[in-house]
Symmetry: C2
DNA sequence: TAGATTGTTAATCGATTAACAATC
DNA sequence: TAGATTGTTAATCGATTAACAATC
């Protein structure tokens, strides 16, 4: 009777923004329809996976035809919650905070920057992207009066948890954290962590792995070719 | 005979930086040893998973004791390739490029910023974090003469692939891409993409999901409590 | 209609968790 | 020695891929 709300796996959710991005590009290229097969080739996934993913949310396609690009884009936008408008603040007006403040892509998607906060008196009062930098003391009040949904944390890692603790006492809905720590937040607050360093270390791992492979390859060649040429030939 | 190089799964690799981070913090707190159990509680993983992960690379622990924090940290550093030093350049000296240039955490880990490139004549010649912004025309030459290992792409998405194409003709080892496009690179070049927008959309999904749940919850309450109180009681 | 392509079920694959003997 | 905790095998769980009937 009750409509079963089946839990969507995080793996699927993480792919949705990518679908959204590719469909957006297809719209710009005036492509009207797309098959799971063609989309899979563009995105580097399997067609089967795409159909499975989309069918978590409903049958958006049509047999023998494929998917209507605009419709599918709209559906995924809605699944991602992009039909809502979100007000957000940035906490920490350093380089990263400024970079995010100046990025135009977010407002296009319905995320509106309402305020920037910092603790440094030299920065407070400055204007970044039409928005004043305010004293962090005013944070809680501002969140309340301006109906802020999302806080973006761009402070040093030493202060990040303390900022999160303050946010935990407000009715903020989501926290987007760029400080390299895993924040503890209230259970009903949504948290998305961006660990840039982790990403760099992953890159480092892959580079090193490739170096090791190349080194192995060289050793193998040296051993095989000059001394024992027959060794390298399968009989 | 040949030492089997077993392929480590991407899921494991993506957890390594997190291990590294937590172990680094334990060292700072002068913690000498740690069990998989305690580490699992700190990190929000299972102890079993931690032991499985680490045993991909070797038996770093000791039965009845646990893991020596410093030793394990060193081992993971090595697995991540952090015993190497990397030279990197930033391409695109906008806010994000500057933010990365000014972030000190990278040099601590052995990543050295050697140059910043931009196409804008107004920016070329400026100094950011002791490093001169150079004309993008000089990119290839600089990569060659300065032994650059990694290029960080911080240009607008329209120009990102064209930068990648130029990098593909050099002997660069890795590309760290912040432009919101999936770059095509040479097969022997390592690529790590950071899609900030994707992360924001994931946050949006989760916030919206929570809103929907709350709304459902309210409907359920309204239906159950005033009209048919017995409905909500299991018999 | 015939061809194309979805939606969906079943099979496979891989990752996580559980269990426990080995051993410090 | 007894207790603790690893390393490792086996069991479980979940995600991806394959297959194909439904249907446009």
């Amino acid at each position: 009777m009750e409509k079963e709300v089946k839990k969507i796996s995080i793996a699927v959710i993480k792919r949705l923004p990518k679908y959204h991005r590719y469909l957006g590009e297809l719209i710009q290229k005036d492509v009207e329809k797309i098959s799971s097969r063609k989309l899979s080739e563009m995105m580097g996934l399997t067609a089967s996976q795409i159909r499975q993913d989309l069918n978590n949310f409903g049958g958006f396609g049509q047999q023998g035809y494929g998917y209507n690009v605009k419709d599918l884009y709209r559906e995924i936008s809605k699944i991602l919650g992009l039909h809502n408008k979100y007000n957000f603040v940035i906490i920490g007006a350093g380089n990263l905070g400024q970079a995010i403040a100046n990025y135009h892509g977010f407002s296009e998607k319905g995320f509106h920057l309402k305020g920037i906060f910092d603790i440094n008196p030299k920065i407070i009062g400055m204007k970044i992207h039409e928005v004043q930098v305010m004293d962090i003391d005013k944070l809680e009040e501002f969140i309340y009066t301006e109906n802020i949904d999302i806080a973006v944390i761009c402070v040093p890692k030493e202060n990040a948890q303390e900022v999160a603790d303050r946010l935990n006492k407000t009715n903020i809905k989501g926290i987007w954290n760029f400080a390299p720590v895993d924040l503890r937040v209230r259970k009903d607050t949504v948290l998305e962590q961006v660990h840039l360093s982790d990403s760099l270390l992953t890159l480092s791992y892959k580079i090193n792995e490739k170096l090791l492979q190349e080194r192995q390859e060289k050793i193998r060649q040296r051993r095989d070719i000059p001394g024992h040429p027959l060794k390298s030939i399968k009989t």
